[in-house]
Symmetry: C2
Subunit: 254 residues, 2 copies
């Protein structure tokens, strides 16, 4: 399986602390040594970094850890390949354009019979089931709504229904974003935490590192982090229920 | 205007030397301080790095210079903004999927009345004329050929015709790739050089740096580099004629 991490914030926020924890699991404290990737949204723009090397040895991962890239929405993934060779084209997150926005997707799980999900408009480049699911999901959305629905609840309900369908076919934990909303679907395992004033200290589970968020934030900041497994061991993470969808915007659960 | 650089090679080849030269022009020896980007193809996969900061000050550019990423096809761009603010979404190269391959595009020029070019299937995320042209070009290709033509000459002739049309509307130097072919269109300014055995020494024009390609290659390697302006001053670059298309594959002109 793989590990997922996402972030939504109401101010441009860096993810160095959480990313440092996640990267330890990529060939260090965890078996996810088959590549990693991260996408940062800055406004409508998306900057991605992909590396088929284990994150623990990756120069690019070191750069992302050391140089704060501030963003409103982040999606990251470390891979333990179960389908599709270790290669750049099979490294998450995947990205396609819909309605003039970049949509980004990362996935953890395995869905049997995914080849039966017929594709419209978007085709996979690599050979993972995950990219196939993403292309299917976005194709379904585009086919149902050639233009973006005026009510964001319509998109949300549509996605929930399709994600429930994938969950019924197998294990399918997903992070999906258009740069504004972060859709987090729990099929088996996903936890989240919202940090807001008064901010406290957090200690990484996977590395000897603490941060006092009080010194790095303003009182109005709201930041939610989502991960396959909690990244800190001194905070109370919320464990999501299988079959549930969490939608975040500007750091808040909506 | 902006500067373009591309590479096609028959073996995975790094672009550190040429990239070092190009990056000097991004706020150093040149005025192109409005961001830069690069895409490396490894098989069908594409790894991109985008930075809205001047390349001369960019940590990400330093990483790309220092850590050899080997690739068959590269497209890079440094930006001097004339349309669209300096932002991630306006930073070239742009990318969209067609026929199950990632297509990458970088552009130098300005096309008047580009808003009249009607878009099918692909929409721009940012506000540059360049991304609009790319979306138009790919939409035209997809509309004419819902599946990839079996004869690559068909694609080539179709692209040449559409690129000629853009050239007639203004200045439009372009690099476009599907990871296999590198299409290089000269509207006003583009030069190229093919390096093959016997390899010699090359000296950068923009930095005090030489490389002896003889020590870094095997006798069968063939590498072609394309750039807005020649990157070395001791080699014979071919200057392209306005209105001409160069198509490269495996380092060779085809």
């Amino acid at each position: 399986m793989c590990e997922l991490m996402g972030m939504s914030a109401n101010v441009p926020t860096d993810i160095c602390f959480s990313f440092t924890g996640l990267m330890q699991r990529g060939g260090g404290n965890g078996p996810h040594a088959d590549g990693w990737g991260i996408t940062f949204y800055v406004g409508k723009g998306a900057r991605s970094f992909h590396d088929p090397q284990p994150s623990i040895d990756s120069h690019v991962a070191q750069l992302v850890q050391q140089h704060s890239i501030k963003s409103h929405v982040v999606i990251s993934h470390i891979r333990q390949a179960n389908m599709g060779q270790v290669s750049v084209e099979n490294t998450h997150p995947f990205q396609r354009e819909l309605w003039g926005r970049h949509w980004t997707f990362a996935h953890n799980g395995q869905v049997h019979g995914y080849q039966q999900l017929s594709l419209q408009n978007y085709l996979p480049v690599g050979s993972t089931d995950s990219e196939h699911l993403f292309c299917w999901l976005l194709g379904e959305l585009r086919c149902a709504f050639p233009k973006p629905p005026s009510d964001p609840w319509t998109t949300r309900l549509f996605l929930q229904q399709r994600m429930d369908y994938l969950h019924a076919l197998g294990v399918s934990n997903m992070l999906l974003s258009d740069g504004e909303h972060l859709y987090c679907y729990c099929s088996t395992k996903l936890s989240w935490i919202t940090r807001r004033a008064p901010f406290g200290e957090a200690c990484l589970k996977d590395a000897d590192m603490q941060v006092d968020f009080g010194t790095q934030t303003t009182p109005d900041d709201i930041v939610t982090v989502v991960a396959t497994d909690p990244l800190t061991d001194n905070e109370q993470w919320q464990v999501m229920l299988p079959g549930s969808l969490l939608v975040l915007r500007d750091g808040k659960v909506i």
